[in-house]
């Protein structure tokens, strides 16, 4: 099965709220070799005006991944993980993610473009806080290979 072009414009439900924990931020910061104290020390974050530790910029992927799981769970997407390569990634921020945030992500597929025997699939996850305010938009381009003969 090739990638279903009708994915573009399909409505996906918002993800269940993701509560950002301080220790999760510290764990992620260590994993990406983040050395700045704003990621691990609440006092350093407060000095910058944040209520708690500041997540590294790519932490948004943890929340975006919940939307990609929705996409992979569809039975008619034509996207198989073992044939999928992450080609591009982009984040656009209104503000950084901070421990204590409760985040909800909503997926949109904005483009499915034929590419060789497969397709380039562009997805956007709009991530908002519990007040409904925009935090970050995460955009992924996935290169989905064609059917293996």
């Amino acid at each position: 099965m090739s990638v279903n072009p009708e994915l573009v414009g399909r409505a996906f439900p918002p993800t269940a709220p993701y509560l950002v924990g301080r220790e999760k931020v510290r764990e992620f910061a260590r994993a990406v070799f983040a050395t700045d104290p704003q990621h691990t020390d609440p006092d350093a974050a407060r000095e910058l005006g944040y209520p708690d530790v500041v997540a590294p910029p790519t932490f948004a992927m943890v929340v975006q991944d919940l939307t990609l799981q929705q996409l992979l769970a569809l039975d008619d997407s034509g996207i198989a993980l073992e044939r999928t390569v992450h080609a591009e990634q982009r984040f656009r921020y209104t503000r950084p993610i901070v421990a204590g945030d409760e985040l909800v992500a909503q997926l949109r597929i904005t483009n499915v473009r034929p590419f060789g025997k497969g397709a380039m699939v562009t997805s956007e996850a709009e991530i908002a806080d519990s007040a409904g305010a925009h935090v970050v938009t995460a955009t992924s381009v996935l290169l989905v290979g064609g059917e293996v003969a």
């Binding site: 994993a31 910058l48 992927m61």
Partner: protein, 145 residues
């Protein structure tokens, strides 16, 4: 005398092409397992040699998102506040093979790519050996005049 943070960079002090930050990060298999746990990405090509070989890869690879994440963190101490980052995008162009015994060294350099009225574009170069592994790795940052 030391201060925990250097002064916040000002636009008027920057020049296009200027090096603002650089570092070398040594990745090991432990780094990949740590990132898998922290991110939730447990694709076995990032820790199992047999699976990597079965799908035709030259070896166990670092997660692209690990490379993307550690690259941008190179500039956060210089920026002083991750909230100054408005946009960050990359293309994943080359794999980073992490040898079981020797690991892999990634060298990240950050230079001013462009300056406008309310910020700058910082261009990140991330190399593994002689190879650049991220394409068009650009960070838009907000800075005061």
């Amino acid at each position: 005398m030391t201060t925990p943070h250097p002064a916040v960079p000002r636009l008027s002090d920057l020049a296009v092409g200027e090096l603002v930050a650089e570092r070398t990060v040594h990745l090991t298999r432990e780094s990949l397992v740590r990132y898998a746990g922290a991110s939730g990405d447990f694709n076995p090509i990032h820790y199992r040699d047999d699976v990597a070989a079965d799908v035709g890869l030259p070896g166990v690879l670092a997660h692209g998102m690990l490379t993307m994440g550690l690259a941008v963190e190179t500039i956060v101490p210089w920026l002083g506040d991750a909230g100054r980052i408005l946009e960050y995008g990359v293309r994943f162009t080359r794999p980073v093979v992490v040898d079981a015994a020797n690991g892999a060294d990634l060298v990240v350099t950050a230079r001013v790519g462009a300056i406008d009225d309310d910020g700058a574009r910082i261009d990140l170069t991330t190399t593994f050996g002689e190879t650049a592994v991220l394409g068009k790795a650009q960070v838009r940052v907000r800075l005061d005049g």
